[in-house]
Symmetry: C2
Subunit: 209 residues, 2 copies
DNA sequence: TTTTCATTGTGACATAAATCACCAGATAGC
DNA sequence: GCTATCTGGTGATTTATGTCACAATGAAAA
């Protein structure tokens, strides 16, 4: 990871801050499907995504995993930034969707950087605001939409992240939306009839728009 | 509003910060039911609640209002803190539940205080974390629970805020939970049969536990 | 007092979604 | 190639919730 890479991924930070990040962060590589953060785990560092896509989930008491949003390269796990300052535990589950690379910054730098680097504080605040907005959108979806709209919305988001060929089974999608496989299969079939997508084995292809 | 009042409501801030707040904030009094912040409104100041209870809502395109959480005296509207730094617009609707008093702090102080006062930055961060957690709980409720659990949960929260006599009509509750009045009436009746509450005209009385 | 209106109760029915049951085709392992 | 397993399709049924219709009640207004 070079300074130039960092500058591309995280623009608008102070020059010295890039050096600070490089000298204090440890780089972690994770494989697709690996868990980065479990619910209840103590957060000891702030995580910046430099490569890949990470999915965030909320878990219920029975272990069902409800998808809330994606984190891309150039984004930070907001919760890890805020928790970090007080050694708190994670409220969410983070899993790598693709092979990913993460910069892990020990929490003690959070406090320092927040007061020393105005651009860091702006980065933290804007990350937070963005994640907050994602959560609000998630609430909108489940509070105001039926499953057909939620599914469409969900597939569009996946397609934005990984392209139009979405390699997931109906069961995978059902899990993310906390519904049953049959419901997803039926709704997908309807969408296929409307020519919004094509259903293949182990994947679907988003066509619409 | 005296310095002592502030210290009670917002403990753990630096001594000089209380003076800063007192000399730079304007005090606003609002009546129960008044709107403090509309969706889409530009945020020009950070709001600290010093008296009363404020309800936050998410609005859909048809103007339906979905309740997300309460803000009490001693808390801040997190969104107003983060938006403030970039003159952004509100994503939520805030309404006073009771007559309330709010300190309004022009946004330019946010930046200053964040770098000057460590306790302010900690306050902002912890407010943010708390609001984030509330949002996650809201998501849990709608993603994982049926209407009966959500209603119980909702009534408990109201009872915590205002005591066991909850002065709301069934329609009011239905609006907050984005369902219909009949559903609420029937579920309340069931809870009354289980002696969890008593239904009165224009109010319900929470008895359970 | 009488009238009007808002609030609540409730049956009947419609719809969305969950669950169950079972089948068929595809794929991987033997 | 044969078999077990995974994945997807689909009907039947149940459950939760939403909608409609209308009655009963109490409170406020006239």
């Amino acid at each position: 990871m070079t300074k130039e890479d960092l500058q591309v991924l995280f623009p608008d930070l102070e020059n010295e801050l890039y050096d600070e990040i490089l000298s204090n962060a440890t780089v972690k590589h994770v494989k697709a499907g690996d868990t980065l953060l479990k619910v209840g785990q103590t957060i000891r560092s702030t995580m910046l995504i430099t490569e890949g896509i990470v999915k965030l989930y909320r878990e219920d008491d029975e272990g069902k995993e409800f998808f809330i949003y994606h984190l891309n390269a150039g984004q930070a796990c907001s919760l890890s930034m805020v928790c970090a300052t007080r050694h708190e535990t994670s409220e969410v589950l983070a899993k790598a969707l693709t092979d990913s690379t993460v910069l892990s910054i020990p929490l003690e730098f959070m406090d320092q950087w927040m007061s020393h680097y105005k651009t860091w504080y702006q980065f933290v605040i804007s990350s937070y605001r963005n994640r907050f907005e994602e959560l609000l959108k998630t609430i909108d979806a489940i509070a105001f939409s039926n499953m057909d709209e939620r599914l469409e919305n969900y597939i569009k988001k996946q397609a934005e992240q990984l392209g139009n060929h979405i390699k997931m089974t109906h069961q995978d999608i059902a899990n993310d939306l906390n519904t049953s496989r049959e419901v997803i299969s039926r709704l997908l079939k309807k969408m296929e009839n409307k020519n919004w997508l094509a259903i293949h084995r182990n994947s679907i292809e988003w066509i619409k728009k």
